[in-house]
Symmetry: C2
Subunit: 347 residues, 2 copies
């Protein structure tokens, strides 16, 4: 298997270094041959080439069997609303270029982290949610612009039937292998694109009579996720609502530093932490690499069909946590100083 590592910006470098080490350890243990290449994206790519997504990155990605992705973003652009070239264009561009329309974000708390969350343990215990976030449509990719006087700005929230269908099918298929519950999230009481979304999900639901389906408005869903996370199994939603709800749901898992994601389409899959570039802690060696490690587990499972290998990785994470080791983001006042690890040690 040939893997392209696209580390990107900020802590992306530090955490993918650990992710790659885990792949190497798995190769050794299970006698696989993994080869690696690297490619540029984001701010790092802008600095080197002027473009947030060099052509070479797309070519290398398409030719690979899987992509291990870090993060993109840089405060320089965040505070400059008029910047023309932005790191995020690299991430959005690669998602679109590879047709990665389904973003899977599993939210599951390791028992050892029950107390690391701001939410009460009894509310969290047993929560296990699989988000399907649509990734190549919505207001992210619709036409956007300004009026000539630059005083009015717009973005187009847009969905077509086939875009909703293909991700809905993936989400329903997944629900069939889980607790057979699916919650579709939209804002159909206000938005036309949400009404199409709901219409299509209702149609696809007919093919899955065993799946218990509900539709929630995004505002209600944002509330219920915190009030009662256990009521959810598979959650299916659009690009923007999925962006917001999965970051929110990271609190169910104790920390953003624990959450992996798989972006899949019809070809090469891309695996990345849901956390961002986190420039406030970049270079300090304190970032939690477990989201990257768990992204590797998803890669082994989904792209390579290596279930045992994937389980080995998840169990390694579990046993490290059981042994009491923590990075800063998942530590609490009871963590002894000698169990508080940096990125490299945790790796």
């Amino acid at each position: 298997k040939h893997i392209v590592v696209i580390a990107g910006d900020g802590i992306g470098q530090e955490v993918t270094t650990v992710g790659k080490q885990v792949l190497e350890a798995i190769a050794k243990k299970y006698n696989h041959e993994f080869t690696f290449d690297t490619a540029l994206i984001g701010h790092a790519a802008i600095e080197a080439t002027g473009s947030p997504l060099p052509e070479e990155t797309i070519t290398k990605s398409k030719e690979s069997d899987a992509i291990l992705f870090g993060a993109v973003g840089h405060p320089k652009y965040d505070n400059d609303p008029s910047a023309k070239v932005r790191p995020e264009q690299g991430l959005l561009g690669i998602r679109k270029a590879l047709g990665l329309y389904a973003n899977l974000r599993p939210i599951k708390l390791f028992d050892e982290l029950l107390s690391a969350s701001s939410i009460k343990p009894e509310i969290l215990k047993g929560a296990d949610i699989l988000f399907f976030r649509e990734l190549t449509g919505d207001v992210y990719f619709g036409e956007k612009g300004r009026t000539d006087d630059r005083n009015t700005a717009y973005d187009t929230m847009i969905y077509s039937r086939y875009e909703v269908e293909r991700i809905a099918v993936k989400a329903f298929d997944a629900a069939m292998t889980r607790r057979k519950k699916l919650c579709s999230v939209d804002k159909a009481n206000v938005l036309e694109s949400s009404r199409l979304w709901r219409e299509v999900v209702q149609e696809i639901a007919l093919r899955y009579p065993d799946v218990d389906v509900e539709h929630q408005f995004v505002d209600t869903a944002a509330m219920l996720l915190i009030k009662d996370p256990k009521r959810f199994d598979v959650v299916l939603t659009g690009n923007l609502f999925g962006d917001i709800l999965t970051d929110e749901a990271s609190q169910i898992a104790g920390s953003m530093g624990m959450l992996a994601s798989a972006s899949i389409g019809d070809t090469t899959g891309l695996y990345e932490p849901i956390h961002g570039s986190a420039h406030d802690i970049t270079g300090k060696g304190v970032a939690n690499p477990l989201a990257s490690v768990l992204s590797v587990a998803l890669m082994l499972d989904i792209s390579f069909g290596m279930k045992a290998e994937a389980d080995t990785v998840v169990q390694a994470v579990d046993s490290v946590l059981k042994a009491g080791f923590r990075t800063r983001d998942i530590a609490d006042s009871s963590t002894p100083a000698d169990k508080l690890l940096g990125t490299v040690q945790m790796g």
Copy 2:
């Protein structure tokens, strides 16, 4: 003062009845004269007149000194994506017709409810957030539609400079009377409308050198609200992001049933709970009327300048909670049966 009560749908009827009683009690205690009228909106208005927002409702509202609002919505329409007439059009229509561009949603936990939330008490204690949600722009009001084959649907997320300016000024003014912190929430790394939003907020910020300003992306904000609600003072955001974040933030206050809102513009203000029509509990007499009661407190304060009267209402709520009385949504396993009240008793 002349008040129009627009009860609307579902539990809107039950809770505004209590809100009105509180206004009557205040009038008696403080020797004010409050006169009342009623008007139709939402599903109730569709049934009676065919329109979710009859002309008469707008006229009566414009002529009043304040509006006490219940809720709109009905499951019948929610599950029918092709419905042409919807209850929500009534609410969106009245916000637009009266120019109610600023929606204030204070999020503050009564100490007695510390344990009612799914979030840990130590995370919540001391949290006190004032949301300014823009209410007459964004994807709610931009052009929306379908292609001729009905297979593609779109909504336009759109903001103009003056719309951002006027609400930003209100939010900064409020920050000056509070802890002088303001967090503006957008998605400027992806959306052009957010970049304009950020540009304008940065400009307005120059006029308020004493206010400590930060900008957060909406996904990060959704996470931080749960992780560390105390870091926020005033939160300023657009219509859609505000809809999602304030419902989420209701969990900081223990229950949606506790949260009031004020919608203000340049004329008559509208006061409503942030909860919806809640058809699952309609007619059962169990809805929490305190959000409507606290909306009355906002009305007394903001529209009538009656600070002492507003405080009296808030203190009444506080003392009822201190005495241990609870509606179902804010009760817990330690609430004795004789302290568990219905809507009318709580009123």
